[in-house]
């Protein structure tokens, strides 16, 4: 990695409700133009890291208690989320949160409005999103609550792309989706990264998929970043294979 990274998280600690410790020392860096995967098991703190990056913790009664988050050379731990969006840091939440009452197209438009796009920019961006996710074209007038899970995830990603992000922060895009849909979504993300230089930070429980598409990965365990490396490196490591990929030696069985 050369030059200053686009996003740098240093020694991040966070708590919920003043008591529950969610993160106790997370370091990660995302250079412009890369895809970085944040992997780890349930409860390792992936979502909390992403929420901290988008400054969404206060809304969930959480707070950053130590450490720094530097985006584009500025400390952004106190920057309101809407200002971050305008600066190009846009998130996609876990669980494909669409606005159920709005149509697919209205959902997308909301993403453009959040950024402050004018009408012409919104029209251009809509055309771009429909080119990226052709499946959404015939669903454009359908209420977002009534389309399939995969399509909702595309709407959620498309809506974020309407904000013209430089850094897209995705939380578990594979959650609850069929493998083909997951593959399609990751291929799309990779293409955006390759063709448009979109930088992506993606938290993913599905380590196989994540390591296949990411340049680098950061492994979280119990609220700490324990390992960082290129995807190829991590794919080759025995402990990662054992614990997350279910290959090689059997992982320690967790009693139900």
């Amino acid at each position: 990695m050369t030059g200053a990274p686009l996003l740098r998280v240093e020694a991040l600690e966070a708590r919920y409700g003043g008591a529950v410790r969610a993160l106790s020392g997370v370091d990660l860096a995302v250079a412009a133009g890369e895809i970085v995967a944040l992997v780890g098991s349930n409860g390792a703190g992936k979502t909390t890291v992403l929420k901290a990056v988008s400054n969404l913790l206060p809304a969930a009664r959480g707070q950053v208690t130590a450490g720094r988050i530097v985006y584009d050379g500025r400390d952004v731990s106190r920057t309101p989320t809407d200002a971050l969006v305008r600066a190009g840091l846009v998130g996609v939440l876990e669980g494909r949160h669409c606005f159920r009452g709005l149509s697919v197209e209205e959902n997308l438009v909301t993403g453009g409005l959040g950024r402050g796009s004018n009408r012409a920019a919104i029209r251009d961006d809509l055309a771009r999103i429909y080119a990226i996710f052709p499946r959404l074209v015939q669903k454009r007038r359908a209420p977002a609550g009534l389309i399939s899970g995969g399509e909702q995830q595309m709407v959620a990603i498309g809506r974020a792309l309407m904000g013209r992000p430089r850094l897209l922060v995705l939380d578990e895009p594979s959650m609850g989706l069929a493998p083909q849909v997951v593959a399609e979504i990751f291929r799309t993300l990779e293409r955006l990264n390759r063709d448009e230089g979109l930088t992506i930070l993606v938290a993913e429980q599905n380590v196989t998929v994540a390591l296949r598409h990411a340049d680098r990965a950061v492994v979280l365990e119990n609220g700490r970043s324990v390992l960082t490396g290129t995807a190829a490196e991590l794919r080759g490591r025995d402990d990662i294979r054992a614990f997350y990929l279910g290959l090689g030696t059997a992982p320690a069985r967790v009693p139900a």
Binding site: F99, T110, L113, G114, M162
Partner: protein, 345 residues
């Protein structure tokens, strides 16, 4: 009303049955009703219907579109009514429309303040905090004599309804006055809900965190919803006091009234503009139907006490039935009926 057809034409395929329906309703309301109406129709049905519709429309902006529950609607009606009373008393040179707009702005400010807890509270807890507003306003109006010009128990009487030399004093005039105010505000509300701001309201309602993450200013959106909603509800209060009852006291704007408005919204359909009108129609007509029906069935045994009880029971059953069977209210029923008719034809 040419304004309604222009943005509706945005949906290109056909000039929208809805636009024609609205135009037809306006023709009936302005052209036919004033010719054939009786003063009973105006005073007992149409004017209260219009005032309640407007109040429900205002609440629907807040609860139906922006998803913030409020139990303080009648407090904002009271704020609007008393503000208009004081403005017309103390600044008599102001034309009536200006007085009404200013009264709406006072109510909007009250709504803004009442909306501050919404930045921290949600759902049920927010409803309880708006309850505090309800009681505070009633207390304030009783306590501060100046607000009702020191009249006993805060009773105020409406000033003459005169706009630019035209008097709207008789029953039909007050109906037409209310109709005009309601029509204008409905157009504005419709413009609002189809605007980016209206979409932000729905975004905050459907998923606050998702709205935040794509850059919607959630706090500002919520406060705006409270202010705009209270503006409309405040103007409805002015109509209630000036056009319908003519003499009001703070006790008339009690929690029952707030609930009534909330029920109108629920029965009519959350998040639809016409739901407010459908619900208000039902709520206004229901007691009349019940009393006719009761008198026919029970004869003299059906006194006003029994009527009120029956009314509450019927309303309660209706609300439960709607919440279970059709949470989207009368508005959705109407949609379905229309679709069935279209398929048959």
């Amino acid at each position: 009303m040419a304004t309604t057809s222009a943005p509706l034409a945005k949906a290109p395929p056909r000039p929208s049955a809805r636009g024609i329906g609205v135009a037809l309703l306006l023709v009936i309301a302005y052209g036919i009703v004033p010719l054939i109406g009786t003063s009973y129709l105006y005073e007992a049905i149409l004017t209260p219907f219009l005032a309640l519709s407007l109040a429900a429309l205002g609440l629907n902006l807040l609860t139906g579109y922006a998803g913030q529950l409020s139990l303080g609607s009648s407090a904002f009606m009271a704020v609007g009514a008393y503000a208009a009373f004081n403005l017309s008393l103390r600044l008599p040179f102001l034309p009536l429309p200006v007085t009404i707009v200013l009264a709406g702005l006072v109510a909007a400010f009250a709504g803004l303040v009442a909306g501050l807890p919404a930045l921290r509270l949600r759902g049920f807890y927010l409803a309880v905090s708006t309850l505090a507003v309800q009681f505070f306003v009633a207390w304030l109006l009783n306590r501060v004599g100046w607000l009702s010009n020191d009249s006993p128990s805060g009773i105020i009487s409406a000033p003459p309804l005169v706009v630019a030399g035209l008097s709207f004093e008789d029953a039909r005039g007050r109906y037409l006055f209310s109709l005009t105010v309601v029509a204008l505000l409905t157009v504005l509300a419709w413009r609002l809900v189809t605007s980016p701001t209206g979409r932000n309201f729905v975004a905050v309602r459907d998923n606050e965190t998702a709205a935040r993450v794509i850059g919607v200013k959630v706090a500002r959106t919520k406060l705006l919803a409270f202010a705009l909603s209270s503006f409309v509800v405040g103007v409805a209060g002015v109509l209630w006091a000036f056009a319908y009852l003519r003499t009001v006291e703070p006790a008339g704007f009690n929690l029952d009234r707030s609930f009534q408005i909330l029920f109108i919204v629920i029965i009519g359909g959350l998040g639809t503009l016409r739901g407010a009108f459908l619900g208000a129609g039902l709520i206004v007509v229901l007691p009349l139907l019940l009393s006719r029906f009761g008198a026919a069935v029970l004869g003299d045994g059906f006194d006003s006490g029994t009527l009120e009880m029956c009314q509450r029971i019927a309303l309660g059953i209706l609300i439960v039935a709607f919440l279970i069977r059709e949470p989207a209210g009368l508005s959705a029923l109407l949609d379905r009926a229309a679709r069935r008719l279209r398929r048959r034809s």
